[in-house]
């Protein structure tokens, strides 16, 4: 008996979506087996994860808080990946965005006491600009000199990390701790709990405006990609760069622009995290959002709205990581999911044929 791959000529539209779900189910099953092997009860573990992430309004809110930076960085990666630009620097762009937003308060760019209606937009702009700059560097290097963007974006992550550390340990350090002083409330993104006085039911819900940034960004990205000339060029370029050149598209310019936008989205995620959750800049502000974003982009097969769904799933896994022991389990599940997704990719275009009879060869 042998296995062979045969090209699919008839894959229906829903097929790749169904495969994604099958890959996730497979990953959960495999993870369950590992949990069982170490003496745990996988069903209970999953129920517990579900409970911890979606069991009450409070934890759903926490899940969404975790999902927010993932949505924006996930969109950043999806956009670049669509054009086969492997921006794995969302982590660094996120950090730069956080730093840029913090600079508005700490440098300070705006004087203390500036109202929120001014501070917040300026912070958003600063975060997006700083992230965009961090995207521009690998973009221009790739477009002009052909520098491999995987290497350059990866390395820029470390520079960004050290850069943030320099500021939180040095000039902006609060009493020598690896964090800055807290931002004043004008620099905080509004949260649901801020409305608790009027609506007591919202008390304690930490979901902040950053979630809306993510949803709006996803919607805008969908419209741009599917409905505009620019999006058409991106799709053409992503599928066949030579055909795009033939159609008269300036590929180099597109590469730079896509990198800037990708970086700006990740930078906005950084801004949303410091302004919406942490309220200060500190070391270790990201537990690897920019890297998880790579998995999310794949899980969503680069679709903007699917990024939101995938981000919520991963937000839940991150949240549940605090709840279940041993705490490596959610990370393992993430790993299994990425692994299954990449493995399932081949099935989008091929089917596996099983041949039983052995051939006669004269």
């Amino acid at each position: 008996m042998t296995l062979r791959l045969e090209l699919r000529t008839d894959a229906p539209r829903w097929w790749s979506g169904a495969l994604t779900i099958m890959a996730v189910v497979f990953a959960l099953t495999a993870s369950g087996l590992v949990i069982a092997a170490v003496g745990g009860d996988p069903i209970r573990a999953y129920l517990h994860i579900f409970e911890a992430a979606f069991g009450s309004v409070g934890v759903i809110s926490d899940t969404l808080v975790k999902a927010t930076p993932l949505i924006l960085t996930g969109l950043a990666c999806s956009l670049a990946f669509r054009m086969r630009l492997w921006n794995i620097g969302a982590e660094g762009q996120f950090l730069l965005g956080a730093w840029g937003a913090a600079a508005v308060v700490l440098a300070p760019i705006l004087p203390a006491g500036t109202p929120a209606i001014v501070v917040i937009p300026v912070m958003m702009l600063a975060g997006a600009l700083a992230g965009g700059l961090w995207g521009f560097i690998p973009g221009i290097l790739r477009a002009r000199l052909g520098v491999n963007e995987i290497i350059s974006t990866l390395m820029l992550n470390y520079i960004a990390l050290s850069w943030v550390q320099f500021w939180v340990f040095g000039p902006w350090s609060e009493g020598g701790f690896q964090q800055t002083r807290p931002f004043p409330p004008e620099a905080w993104l509004p949260r649901l709990t801020d409305l608790a006085e009027a609506y007591p039911v919202l008390g304690g819900l930490t979901v902040h405006l950053g979630l809306i940034f993510g949803i709006v960004a996803a919607a805008v990205m969908w419209v741009v990609l599917e409905r505009t000339r620019w999006g058409y060029e991106i799709r053409l370029l992503g599928d066949s760069p030579r055909a795009a050149r033939y159609a008269g598209i300036d590929i180099k310019q597109k590469i730079v622009v896509i990198f800037i936008i990708s970086g700006a989205l990740a930078g906005l995620a950084g801004m949303s995290e410091v302004s919406g959750v942490v309220h200060r800049l500190q070391d270790r502000i990201s537990p690897g959002y920019g890297f998880t974003a790579i998995i999310i982009a794949y899980l969503a097969r680069f679709g903007p709205f699917r990024v939101i769904v995938a981000s919520i799933l991963f937000g839940a896994l991150i949240l549940a990581g605090r709840e279940i022991q041993p705490s490596g389990i959610p990370a393992m599940i993430q790993g299994f999911i990425l692994f299954s997704l990449i493995a399932s990719d081949v099935l989008v275009r091929y089917r596996i044929r099983i041949h039983r009879q052995s051939p006669v060869v004269t």
């Binding site: 042998t2 000529t9 505009t228 000339r229 058409y232 053409l236 066949s240 008269g248």
Partner: protein, 526 residues
Amino acid sequence: MTAPAPAPALQARGIVKAFPGIVANDRVDFDVRPGEIHALLGENGAGKSTLMNILAGLYRPDAGEILLDGRPIAFRSPREAIAAGLGMVHQHFTLVPSQSVTENILLGLDRPRFRLQVGKSEAEVGRLAAQFGMRVDPRAKIWQLSVGEQQRVEILKMLYRGARILIMDEPTAVLAPQEIEELFRTLRSMTADGRSVVFISHKLGEVMAIADRITVMRRGRVTAAGISTADTSKTDLARRMVGREVLERLERTPYAPGDVILAVQDVHADNDRGLPALRGVSLDVRAGEIVGMAAVAGNGQSELAQVITGLRACRGSVTMGGEQVANRPAGQAIARGIAHVPEDRTGVGSSPNLSVADNLIMKRYRAAPVARGWFIDDTAARRLAEGLKNEYAIATPSIDTEARLLSGGNLQRLIFAREIDSGPRLMVAVQPTRGLDVGAIEAVHRVLLERRAAGTAILLISEDLDEILSLADRVDVMYEGKVVGSFGAAEADIHAIGLLMTGGGGGDMDASAAPSTAAPPVSAGR
């Protein structure tokens, strides 16, 4: 010739293979006798490739059986097929350019087991080549060889593996006339040796010249099963292939050239490897005329097309209607009305995973009605695509189908539809009918002549001399990046052109066709 019918060496009986939406092979019978050349003739999509892929073990038939020397077989891979004596030479060669002829032939073999004795193998390869009258230097590197020589290496690869039955897929598509004659001599010496050849083609003239028997397929069915070449004619074959009478004569308006539209002067350009590909090319094309550019692959004609359409940098002057177009972005060439039917239909001329509609708007999405400000008007785009699909009879389930699922002929219809729809002043068509079937070729030729009548300047770059001679008003011949000869339609002679194409114009014909270890790098091709 073999009569009365000896036992077939290879026989396929009642082969059925269905793909979704189409029966590619519908109860197909096919057999090859020892020592014969059996031509398999049919349009694209007729099921020839499917049948050959089933024979070679790439596909599994839904029904039917394959007998080799009377015994049923089912190969799982080409490797098993060749082990049983069945070898296939594909249209696209699978050779390693940096390695020698002998090394390529040994590649993938189990023997020698460990230590390569290249000298010994070279002698074997040389003997084998001489036996079948193939001129190849076993020590030459592949990149130094012409396309015709590379094809000989592919044939040798199969013979070295002991192929008794050789399947050749469109072997003449890339060859110059002299090379075709040489290939035919080789094939005949193979059959004289008792081997069999399956010759896949859709060129009627060639099939009549080389085949002992002919099988014609149309839409998955056999319409003529192994008829003897002596008992048939071109017209008869064409009718069986296309299912109707083929118009041999094309409607052609009198030659009335207008102003010079395209003027190329002393253009130099490098190829992708940085070697000179164009070395001082000059030519012009007037409104309402077709200039045919005859050249064997790799002599700079692809680069010339790219220079004119803004896809390649150059030195020299390219003007259109007096305006300089050299070294301008491709977008400007499009805006100026330069249409381009590229050589590589799947890699350049279309975007395989985008829909037919998306492919049809490729050059129209910047302007109204498809563009509405920054947006694309989906309704207008679909209306345009539907219109072109119907006007140019692009056979596709819908305009949302991915372009990669179209057959070669239909993809070319799509590209022509798009390029002509832009109302071009100049059209550069590169190998527009390569790999197409009779019906599609006729359609392309008719479209080109319609554009000519409408006053478009057309530069037709082709290796198919019959095509150039039947369409062009003037013929330029290109060799090693230079125009080496120009003819008016009346004085153009196929043999003179063929000689110039292969570098035989200036001097000794044999010197250029000999195994070309010493050939200059430019002629070495691709």
